[in-house]
């Protein structure tokens, strides 16, 4: 008997003969590798994974568009995507994201329009975490909220540091 699943591997093209299915527990593993979630207890990560959708994109599809109201964050399980912003001369690529990263997480924490468009560059598989579900989890389990807050504060500290560094570099030019 050949089991139709094997651990944490999966086929990004999705039409291989032997179905290889990523299981809930594998997703939990994946979520743990995301800094935002790394400190959360496994049971909560499992609930987060269960309430999220597994979604697949082919190359060139948009996960979301700049300016739309965000309703979900995406944890990329496999594949790559480009982060684009609208500029005068058309879309402009500012970054690339791949496996083990999360995109659109700002939108599930506060009500802002998407600040960028994310479009896949290869076939991509992601876990879509809906804003409502995520906020509900935070409300029910304050220890999760504290953990998320810690990560965000870390990030803010880092950004602030980068900003002052960038200012320091710019000032001589301005002067």
């Amino acid at each position: 008997m050949v089991p139709p699943r094997c651990g944490s591997q999966f086929a990004p093209d999705g039409n291989s003969e032997t179905r290889i299915v990523m299981l809930l527990k594998d997703e939990v593993e994946m979520l743990r590798r995301i800094t935002l979630f790394s400190g959360l207890p496994p049971a909560k990560l499992k609930l987060l994974a269960f309430t999220s959708d597994r979604v697949m994109y082919s190359a060139g599809e948009a996960l979301f568009y700049q300016g739309d109201i965000g309703d979900a964050a995406y944890v990329i399980l496999s594949g790559k995507a480009e982060v684009l912003i609208n500029a005068a001369g058309g879309p402009f690529k500012i970054a690339e994201v791949e496996q083990n990263s999360i995109v659109g997480e700002i939108a599930i924490l506060c009500n802002t329009p998407r600040t960028a468009t994310v479009r896949t560059s290869t076939p991509l598989e992601a876990l879509r975490i809906r804003k409502d579900d995520f906020l509900k989890l935070l409300a029910d389990f304050p220890e999760m909220a504290v953990e998320i807050m810690r990560v965000l504060a870390d990030r803010l500290a880092q950004t602030t540091a980068e900003l002052s560094e960038a200012r320091g570099r710019l000032e001589p030019v301005d002067a």
Partner: protein
């Protein structure tokens, strides 16, 4: 409206009132005849008066008159009857009189009832008619629920009173007067006493009742307030729960109910006090008769026979008198109610009925410009919203309003009325123009949308229903019923416009009739991006394959076309099709085992636990143990995931296996499994565990339970299930057949004949696009769209999203061929990107259709300025800038 109810009733029912008076007078004849008859029967045939010998006879039905000077004239000598014959004849006459009296009563009551109901219908219609003509500012002052209560409940007693409005006082007054005159004739002094007491009653009682009326008015007002508050609670439930103010609302309602109770209790106290005094006065008269009359009789100043006659006559007086007083009470009561309602509906600036007159003729296009002339608009508080604005829009011109042009748009749309200045078309004030012109040649849409309860199609075509254009043809019984409807409507002062007529103005939508209407409005639906929404609603609907046999066959044919298409586009993995010999990984285990769908979920759940068939079938196909193991694993996963969550948590909506209440049950079962071993768990609990498997979908739940072997076994079990299924279960399962329409499935289920893969982002979106294409290719598109139009949007359109409602409103404005379109930020619920797309779509749609209407669009986004000829910029209610787009380099810049 006429402020006095009695006059209102008299004006509208004069003829009927007079007729009923005549009938009542006529009915008195048999009524009095029947009084005399029992005496005749007893004295004549029974006691033998006039039948001195056994052979004696008497004349029956002899008609003769005693006339002065002429003596007795015999018209008819009558029949000579013996004693038994006479008894029978007189008894029969008595029976006949009973019947005649009954018939009179029946006729009078029905007539009075009809009279009242007609008047009620008239008054209710008049009130609603007034609501339709209220000035816009009035709607901010009234609560919808209060208006509804007034029209529904408060005027209701008026109907009951109408029939008695004139008949009762005439009849009862007559009776009371007769009795009084009779008493006066018997004895002047005793008669005077009786008259005096009656006068006291007539003066005191109505005075005491004044307070009752005041209380009654208060009761009416507080009850109306209550209904207004209740509807506020229902409407504002979100805000109440969101702010935890439910107890504040409770306190407020309790206080209101307390006030109502106090008023009502006061009412009771007074009512019964009045009753007591009234009864006392009525009883005091006989006391005076006995005491004073008796004293006079003892003194010998009064004949005893007279006294007895007076007392006898008096017994006929209190009855009618009491009823008369009751009638007066009812009269004042309804008069108060009526006056209250009329007061609330009397508005000085009511629209002239001529403005809303029905017009079935086509309206000429508006040639002149739409212009605001020195227009000032203020709000209720008196602050200026629009300050002396003058702006002219030529036919065909495209004008963008920015920086607060909403109020001007509303004034153009006649939603607000000017405080000074006016809005004119070709020099004529739009408020004086008939709505058959302004409401057909000008279209207005804003984001404040109202969607009526009914089908989506009704709402989309709502803007075309101005007048009954084509009469509905009635046949046979329906025709005579329609005739009756028209007559009744006329008699009650209602219009007899037929709601079943074809009201849709096809010409205004550029169509020639119902057949090409959908084709004509398709571009509009496409432009506002509503088509996909309608389509999505359509494909999710179920249809009756028997009624739409051809369509159902077409859908079944599409199945293979869909497969080919998906193969061609390399999207085969988007849908997992149902194959008789293969496991469908995207469907539940239950669905796979039955290879069909459940038509009765409740029966199915019951059968699963109790029916002997299910107890044995799993054993037979060798899946009992596997399923048991799987069920335990599912239960463990679910319990682990959901144990900590409160039972009303929204996550439970995602849980298909069990309800929140069942979690502890399964927790207990798992406990037993752990302590006793799997095999030792009671049979009932085992079945509960087995049940869980039927809802399991591997890619959705991802617990990793299905192996190839298990799937193969499940597929093999299909035949067993199919053939062994007992007759009592067969009805609740509809089997999948590749060439048959699944009646319990939606249209999309039937096209797919499979399940959309869970993990495809927007998989259903993609599939829908392909299916739409296929519908178009197969010529089924419009037919499917029509099913979407049948979708019931719910009360206030609540079954649509806000975005869908706004798109619907925009479509409903655009469908009608107008000269001026006023769009007041109509798409606020949509993403900015989509809003822009719709604006562009609308411009190009109008361009392609060859129509060149004027467009006035209130915009928040400068990126779209390039589409317009002119931009009018407002600030603080003043028109700051009005210039052509080309002459405004700053706007051009912003637009690029």
């Amino acid at each position: 409206m006429e402020p006095r109810l009695s006059r209102y009733i008299w004006t509208h029912t004069r003829k009927d009132q007079l007729w009923i008076l005549v009938v009542v007078a006529l009915s008195m004849i048999p009524y009095f005849l029947s009084f005399d008859l029992p005496k005749q029967i007893v004295n004549g045939p029974i006691q033998g008066d006039g039948f001195d010998s056994p052979e004696a006879t008497q004349a029956f039905l002899s008609i003769s008159f005693d006339l002065p000077y002429l003596g007795t004239i015999n018209v008819f000598d009558g029949f000579q009857l013996g004693r038994e014959g006479m008894l029978l004849a007189l008894s029969l006459v008595f029976l006949a009189l009973v019947v005649v009296n009954g018939l009179f009563k029946f006729y009078i009551n029905t007539f009075k009832g009809r009279l009242g109901e007609r008047l009620l219908r008239r008054i209710r219609f008049e009130l609603v008619d007034r609501v339709l003509r209220f000035p816009p500012s009035h709607f901010r002052r009234v609560k919808p629920a209060e208006i509804a209560t007034m029209i529904k409940d408060e005027v209701e007693p008026l109907g009951g009173f109408t029939g008695d409005a004139f008949v009762s006082p005439a009849l009862l007054g007559g009776q009371a007067l007769t009795a009084l005159v009779f008493i006066l004739l018997q004895s002047f002094w005793l008669g005077l006493i009786a008259t005096l007491i009656v006068a006291v009653q007539a003066v005191i009682i109505p005075r005491m009742r004044k307070r009752l009326l005041v209380l009654g008015r208060e009761r009416q007002l507080t009850a109306r307030e209550l209904s207004g508050r209740v509807s506020e609670i229902v409407d504002g439930i979100g805000a109440i729960r969101g702010h935890d103010t439910s107890n504040y609302e409770r306190a407020d309602i309790a206080a209101k109910l307390g006030r109502i109770f106090k008023i009502r209790y006061d009412l009771y106290q007074w009512k019964f006090l009045v009753k007591f005094i009234n009864n006392f006065l009525a009883q005091v008269t006989p006391f005076l008769f006995y005491a004073i009359g008796g004293y006079f009789a003892l003194q010998g100043r009064l004949d005893i026979g007279q006294l007895v006659a007076v007392i006898g006559a008096y017994k006929d007086l209190p009855g009618p008198l009491k009823e008369l007083i009751d009638w007066d009470q009812a009269r004042q009561d309804v008069q108060v109610k009526y006056a209250q309602v009329v007061e609330r509906f009397s508005v000085d600036t009511l629209l002239d009925p001529k403005v809303q007159a029905v017009s079935t003729v086509a309206v000429e296009p508006l040639a002149g410009p739409l212009a605001a002339v020195n227009l000032t608009v203020t709000d209720d508080a008196g602050s200026t919203l629009l300050d002396h604005v003058s702006l002219q829009v030529q036919p065909g011109e495209k004008v963008a309003l920015t920086g607060g042009g909403e109020v001007l748009a509303e004034a153009f749309g006649r939603l607000v009325w000017p405080a000074s200045g006016k809005v004119v078309i070709g020099g004529q004030d739009i408020l004086d123009m008939p709505e058959s012109v302004t409401g057909r040649r000008i279209a207005y849409a804003s984001s404040d949308v109202y969607v009526f309860q009914g089908s989506l199609g009704d709402n989309v075509l709502y803007g075309l229903k101005h007048a009954p254009l084509k009469d509905h043809v009635y046949e046979g019984e329906r025709a005579s019923h329609r005739k009756w409807e028209v007559t009744e409507a006329r008699l009650a002062g209602n219009p007899h416009l037929d709601v079943n007529s074809d009201w849709i103005d096809y010409g205004a939508a550029g169509a020639s009739g119902p057949d090409d209407l959908l084709i004509q409005i398709r571009p509009v639906l496409d432009a506002v991006l509503l088509t996909n929404d309608v389509m999505a609603l359509a494909v999710r609907s179920t249809i009756d394959p028997q009624r739409h046999a051809e369509f159902a066959a077409g859908i079944v044919e599409m199945r293979s076309a869909l497969r080919q298409r998906l193969e061609k586009e390399k999207l085969s993995d988007l849908v997992v099709f149902f194959e008789p010999g293969t496991y469908n990984i995207e469907a539940t285990i239950g669905e796979n085992m039955l290879f069909g769908t459940i038509t009765d979920q409740a029966m199915w759940a019951n059968a699963l636990e109790n029916h002997p068939f299910f107890k044995t079938i799993l054993q037979r196909v060798g899946l009992r143990d596997t399923f048991y193991e799987m069920g335990i694993e599912i239960a463990e996963n679910v319990v682990e995931l959901f144990r900590d969550l409160p039972p009303d948590h929204p996550f439970f909506q995602q849980l298909t296996f069990m309800t929140a209440e069942e979690i502890p049950v399964y927790e207990a079962i798992l406990q037993k499994v752990r302590s006793r071993g799997k095999a030792e768990v009671p049979e009932d609990d085992q079945i509960k565990v087995l049940r869980l498997c039927f809802d399991y979908i591997e890619p959705r739940h991802r617990f990793g339970l299905l192996t190839d072997e298990v799937m193969a076994k499940i597929v093999a079990a299909r035949r067993e299930f199919d053939e062994g299924l007992p007759a009592d279960l067969a009805g609740m399962i509809e089997h999948y057949r590749p060439n048959r329409f699944i009646a319990s499935g939606s249209i999309i289920d039937n096209v797919l004949f499979g399940r959309i893969g869970h993990k495809h982002a927007d998989g259903s979106e993609k599939i829908r696009a392909i299916v739409r294409d296929l519908f178009e290719a197969g010529g089924l598109y419009n037919e499917v769209l029509a099913f979407g139009f049948d979708y019931n949007v719910g009360a206030g359109g609540k079954r649509l999203t806000a975005a869908q409602r706004q798109k619907l409103d925009l479509a409903r404005a655009l469908i009608r061929n107008c000269d001026f379109y006023i769009f007041n930020q109509p798409l606020l619920a949509l993403d900015q990107r989509v809003q822009e797309q719709v604006v562009r779509n609308v411009f190009s749609m109008l361009d392609q259709s060859g129509r060149d209407p004027a467009i006035i669009w209130v915009l928040a986004n400068p990126a779209l300025m390039e589409l317009f000829d002119r931009v009018a910029h407002f600030e603080n209610g003043r028109l700051l800038n009005d210039a052509n787009v080309d002459e405004r380099p700053d706007y051009k810049e912003m637009a690029s």
